[in-house]
Subunit: 213 residues, 2 copies
DNA sequence: TTCACATTGCTAAATTTTTCACAATTAAAA
DNA sequence: TTTTAATTGTGAAAAATTTAGCAATGTGAA
């Protein structure tokens, strides 16, 4: 299912709605109100209703939204029906943490390979994910139709790795190194740096502290 | 230095500008143009100039911005002069990765303690950071004036940990578990979940793929 | 059957964030 | 000294995102 021009923020929240709903799933409760979802995610009920409106989902006036239906619909929109395969490049601290975190989380989004340059890590299996030598990357990506790459190599290596991933036909990249990358427009790039998050927390914590004292 | 109501997005970018500038720092180059900063971070030059305008920094019309001065000014704004101390709660895969990543990165923002419940991890030092039993958390936070907490325990434990952190006097929280937390308004909370990032990448990668094919 | 009322769905307004467009400026070149 | 050209700084416009406000509605109680 395609809904044209879903805002970036809405896509993020849909992912969060689904995860929150999956977490609260229980037998007794089949429906949920917009204000309940909102409370879980620290946003307003209007925001939730607006997002659901954008994906064309209608709730029941007295019972709220059907949890099972909603989870399913979000899946229809943000997942790809054939599923998408993911590779992690750089099996260090972070790479391992990511693999262990994803294990068994999403059926439509599966990490099926890791790549590294360190011989100690190659040809071993971590949490069900085999690790290959970086030289095999292009072949394995093409053979397995991997469309998404997660970059967790040292930042100095990141640009070269990104280039290889793009040449291998990857469609989306999640970059955890602090080195900003350049990719062609047909590849979607998302960058995340914990330091930015932490500095933001530090800034607003400091500010709050002044305001509330 | 306080500038009132700096937009959230601007705070994030200031952190990124500083990091990007620190990374490109060299002897030959003392100045940088807005379009150079913009290119590094995939944003527009106007955006850069607007942000710098908001913090009241003026560049040189022909030479651009003085790199050293700018880094210093950003520090004056987003850092706290006394520095802020940080604790990591939950020294698993992710907790260790975070500590190793921060080692020696920011002088004004230092991780000085970790807490866990697993006896194997307690009373050991990881990358220079000592790990204590979770029961000592409140005392150690108060004694060392730790104002920021990073939560990387299993998500089931997160709400209780957050509550304890708040009671211990923490001012800012960075939550890496997928469990949304509730904190009082005087505590700044930032939540990050990799699954949201990855699902977003997957969604837009899929979309791009349809658009460009 | 009627009524009361909590909730949805949605238009319009408000707010936040980004971009446009261009005057002002200044360092270097002529 | 004058000219040239590139860049900054910023008011105003545009775009994106969030919120307000409220009619419509359907459910359960009276
Ligand atoms: N640790 C964190 O929490 C964290 C957070 C944010 C970002 N990062 C960034 O993520 C990256 C990885 O962090 P980490 O802590 O896992 O580092 P790490 O050193 O533990 O892991 C890096 C891994 O990449 C491998 N590698 C090196 N060069 C390679 C190459 N050319 N091809 C393939 N593999 C290669 C190494 O063998 C190693 O296994 C770094 O850039 C770091 O800045 C880390
Ligand atoms: N691994 C990732 O990349 C990743 C990414 C995003 C979020 N997360 C989330 O971060 C959290 C940690 O992930 P992880 O991979 O490091 O898990 P992990 O199991 O490796 O580590 C959890 C650590 O917390 C400790 N712990 C458990 N209960 C505790 C308590 N009550 N007090 C103090 N410490 C306690 C455990 O002893 C362990 O050391 C999880 O909630 C996970 O969902 C992980």
């Amino acid at each position: 299912m395609i809904i044209k021009n879903l805002p970036h923020k809405t896509v993020e929240r849909l992912s969060q709605y689904r995860r929150a709903l999956l977490m609260t799933l229980s037998k007794e409760k089949t429906h949920v109100f917009s204000h309940e979802i909102a409370q879980m995610l620290h946003i307003t009920p209007v925001q939730v209703r607006r997002d659901l409106m954008l994906i064309g989902y209608s709730g029941n006036l007295r019972k709220g939204y059907d949890i099972k239906e909603l989870i399913e619909l979000i899946g229809k929109i943000i997942d790809s029906d054939k599923g998408q395969r993911v590779a992690v490049v750089g099996l260090g601290n972070l790479g391992k943490a990511i693999i262990s975190y994803f294990k068994g989380k999403r059926s439509k989004l599966s990490i099926i390979a890791a790549f590294d340059i360190n011989p100690d890590k190659i040809n071993r299996v971590y949490d069900g994910v085999p690790c290959y030598h970086i030289d095999q990357m292009t072949d394995i990506i093409k053979q397995n139709n991997i469309s998404i790459g997660i970059i967790s190599v040292p930042s100095t290596e990141a640009p070269e790795i990104a280039e290889t991933l793009v040449l291998s036909g990857i469609k989306g990249l999640l970059n955890f190194t602090p080195k900003p990358l350049n990719v062609p427009p047909y590849v979607y790039l998302e960058e995340y740096d914990m330091i930015t998050s932490l500095e933001k927390v530090a800034f607003f914590a400091k500010k709050n502290d002044e305001r509330f004292k």
